[in-house]
């Protein structure tokens, strides 16, 4: 039987991917290891290789660029010579699927499965006693939260003393639902909504208790056409890119859930500037990647995190996770938007290695060729706005991390040094920390350590 190519899971939280493009044509001979197609993951476009050699067969209904495909859904076949494959994907059995869902033919509403991929149905569409079961007891709070999260509680087993469904049961059930907010939506409607940039929450709000259909999305698109131009006739409508949407979601989540406090201080970077000039002269003469200021800050921050492990942590509702390794993310501006690739095991790396690796990460980010995992697993993040003439600012924490360091411009200005007012190179440092996870004094001590390291960089870069 022909080998089935399915939508891979490219990150822990990935439940669906936007199909990019085929890198091979129907009928092409492919070898295991060849790059077969691309997927637009959460923030990166990834090339996916094929694990089987044979002839690529794209059946009718194979995905086109931009289609939103659930993880595990069938995409194509790799057939051996003389082997036949099904002509169309709609009849194909699900393969490699973790949730057992059918791969829908996106153009055909009649092919919509009756339940959403996780097997949940809206309570309204399913009488509670249809299968002869009595509705389980549920606490008022759990019932309210089930409604908010769109969870069908009649299918939950309660963990209360008498079998009552309580809040934790609903929340656990909600986490297993494929949709981000437990929204029940048909695949066609979901794709239309994604293309039009209409949020699922927005749709769910106008269709409480029932499945969102294509008509609902079309109505929402029509409503938007009417309202937006009426308010601002000359405005340009720029649909959100995928990165913009994810950035918005993460920033909002951080802003709404953390208790951010920003501390600022100023460090004397005179020695750091001198060091960087020396590095530039010496490394470029030898054809090596010249460490930038960012590379130096990365290394110094990692040293400071070693001294203050409480800041090298992740927050979860249950516990604070102190990390044994130090992986520092750094913000990179790209044409697509903001990305934060992660430099791993920073304390173990020399400045030379760091310089070489960050060049690759930045290049990868700008060319959209960074794998999903290259942006995962950071334990701390730094962001530098110095090149735009900014001094202090209030960066937003990159969840689930608990702090982020903002670096300002280096500017020569009068400063008191050895009792004299003299021109010195000064840099503003801004630390935003999550006061839920760490208190002001330890955060201040951490920032002060960075300030000291910046003023004496050689001591710590060689440490």
């Amino acid at each position: 039987m022909a080998y089935e190519v399915t939508m891979p899971r490219l990150g822990w939280t990935m439940e669906e991917g936007v199909f990019g493009e085929w890198l091979k044509q129907d009928g092409d001979e492919v070898k295991a290891g060849d790059l077969l197609f691309t997927v637009e993951g959460d923030k990166a476009t990834q090339e996916v290789e094929v694990f089987e050699s044979g002839i690529l067969r794209l059946p009718q209904g194979a995905p086109a660029p931009g289609d939103v495909i659930p993880v595990g859904a069938l995409l194509a076949y790799i057939a051996q010579a003389g082997e036949s494959t099904p002509a169309a994907i709609a009849q194909a059995a699900p393969a490699g699927s973790q949730t057992g869902q059918k791969a829908p033919a996106p153009e055909d509403p009649a092919a919509e499965p009756a339940a959403d991929p996780a097997g949940h149905k809206a309570p309204a569409s399913q009488p509670v006693s249809a299968d002869g079961r009595r509705a389980p007891a549920i606490s008022p709070r759990a019932r309210r939260i089930a409604a908010e999260l769109g969870v069908d509680w009649t299918r939950i087993t309660g963990s209360g003393r008498t079998g009552r469904i309580v809040e934790r049961d609903v929340r656990a059930a909600a986490e297993t639902v494929v949709e981000p907010l437990g929204v029940d939506i048909s695949p066609v409607a979901r794709r239309l909504a994604a293309e039009a940039g209409i949020s699922l929450e927005e749709l769910a709000a106008v269709t409480p208790g029932r499945r969102i259909q294509r008509e609902d999305v079309e109505a929402a698109i029509a409503a938007r056409r009417q309202t937006v131009p009426a308010q601002e006739a000359a405005a340009q409508v720029v649909p959100h890119s995928r990165i913009r949407r994810i950035t918005a979601q993460r920033m909002a989540e951080s802003a709404h859930t953390t208790a951010p406090v920003t501390l600022t201080t100023e460090a004397d970077a005179t020695e750091l500037v001198a060091l960087r000039q020396q590095l530039k002269a010496s490394y470029s003469r030898r054809g090596l990647a010249v460490p930038g200021y960012n590379d130096i800050y990365l290394k110094l921050t990692a040293c400071a995190l070693q001294e203050h492990p409480a800041l090298n942590a992740s927050w979860s509702e249950e516990a604070l996770h102190l990390h044994s390794e130090i992986h520092v993310g750094f913000a990179v501006e790209t044409e697509q938007g903001l990305l934060a690739p992660v430099l791993r095991d920073v304390p173990a790396k020399s400045l030379r290695v760091i310089a070489a690796e960050t060049v690759e990460l930045i290049e990868g980010a700008r060319r959209e060729r960074l794998g999903h995992e290259a942006m995962q697993g950071g334990t701390f993040t730094i962001t530098n706005l110095g090149m735009y003439g900014i001094d202090a600012f209030t960066p937003i924490i990159n969840l689930p991390q608990i702090a982020i360091l903002g670096i300002g411009r280096i500017i020569c200005k009068p400063a008191v040094h050895d009792g004299q007012v003299v021109p010195r190179q000064m840099v503003a440092l801004s630390l935003t920390f999550d006061h839920r996870a760490v208190d002001g004094a330890p955060a201040a001590r951490f920032l002060n350590t960075i300030r000291e390291y910046v003023s004496e960089p050689v001591l710590w870069l060689s440490a």
Binding site: P140, R141, G160, R161, R164, V166
Partner: protein, 325 residues
């Protein structure tokens, strides 16, 4: 901060107010030269003399009625019942005159009377000297009912009581009277109807009253070692009752237990539970629980006395049961 006992805290508030306001006087049995059975007026007789620290015979209805008249004429009586149980002998004056006078006079008369006494079970005081009765007074329109749990609250609430134009019942649990705690110097007033969050938490809301606050707080700390995060609220005043703080906490935790030494039927816990169900129904993740003293007259026998009051083990079990719901 310096520490005072609960009684010293109220004494400081009373002394300061008497020094400023000559219309304040104290009436009761043994509150003059003796300084009060519970040291509530120690030293005041020497400062303010027998007219303002007026010892009375055992005649509760008489001296409470006279104080009601005095309050109507513009003075500010403090009636010290020693054991609050004997307020019952003046119940008619309290309910039919003191609580109603402002209403009956369309507000032309004020009733600035402070009624204080020691409440609660302990020290084998037996059934005539162990009552609390605050649910009865909270039931009636017209009274303010104050049940401080810690010395600093006792002082701030006593100051507010001495400024109130309404009759105030200031009820001091016997087991708290000689507890020490940090008390700010100088004058300060804590408004009625503002609960104190004694401990913040996320898993369940515990409302404890009077002597149950410290006991429950210790249980919370023990439960925290097992990863249970309980929020503890001390209402501080039963009337007015700060339901907003309780409801806000329940909206966070979904679970509510009321710990109160007084009898359960028609009690403060019943009132809090009813309001929580009424206004916070959709926040509740479990039945509301109450833990009360036994619904019996208080025994003299120390082991029996111990058995009818909620103790740490009972509180801990009740919290665990609530979380298992």
């Amino acid at each position: 901060m310096r520490e005072l006992t609960y009684v010293e805290a109220t004494l400081e508030a009373l002394d300061g107010a008497m020094a400023r306001d000559p219309s304040i006087f104290v009436v009761g049995e043994g509150i003059g030269e003796r300084g009060g059975n519970f040291n509530t007026t120690v030293g005041l007789y020497d400062k303010y003399g027998p007219e303002r620290l007026c010892d009375t015979p055992i005649s509760e209805r008489g001296f409470v009625g006279m104080c009601a008249g005095a309050a109507m004429t513009g003075t500010r009586p403090v009636v010290d019942f020693m054991f609050l149980d004997f307020i019952l002998d003046a119940f008619g004056e309290l309910v039919n005159q003191i609580a109603k006078m402002q209403y009956m006079s369309s507000g032309r008369l004020k009733m600035p009377i402070l009624l204080r006494g020691a409440i609660g079970i302990g020290h084998s005081a037996a059934t005539h000297h162990s009552g609390s009765y605050y649910p009865i007074f909270a039931h009636l329109p017209g009274f303010r009912v104050v049940v401080p749990a810690i010395p600093s609250d006792a002082k701030g609430l006593f100051t507010t009581a001495l400024q109130s134009d309404d009759p105030v019942l200031f009820l001091e649990h016997k087991s708290l009277l000689f507890n020490r705690g940090a008390v700010p110097e100088g004058d300060y007033a804590i408004p009625f109807g503002q609960a104190r969050i004694a401990r913040a938490g996320t898993d369940c809301t515990l409302v404890a009253i009077g002597s149950m606050v410290d006991k429950t707080l210790a249980v919370c700390e023990k439960l925290a070692e097992d990863g249970i995060s309980a929020e503890l609220i001390d209402p501080r005043t039963i009337a007015p009752l700060d339901m907003a703080t309780i409801l806000e906490s329940v909206s966070k935790t979904g679970r509510l237990l009321i710990v109160d030494e007084t009898f359960q039927p028609c009690g403060v816990g019943a009132e809090i539970a009813a309001q929580a169900v009424d206004k916070g129904f959709d926040d509740l993740d479990a039945p509301i629980r109450r833990l009360n003293g036994a619904h019996v007259p208080t025994p003299y026998s120390p082991p029996l006395e111990l058995a009818i009051v909620p103790e740490s083990d009972d509180i801990e079990q009740s919290v665990r049961d609530l979380l298992a719901e």
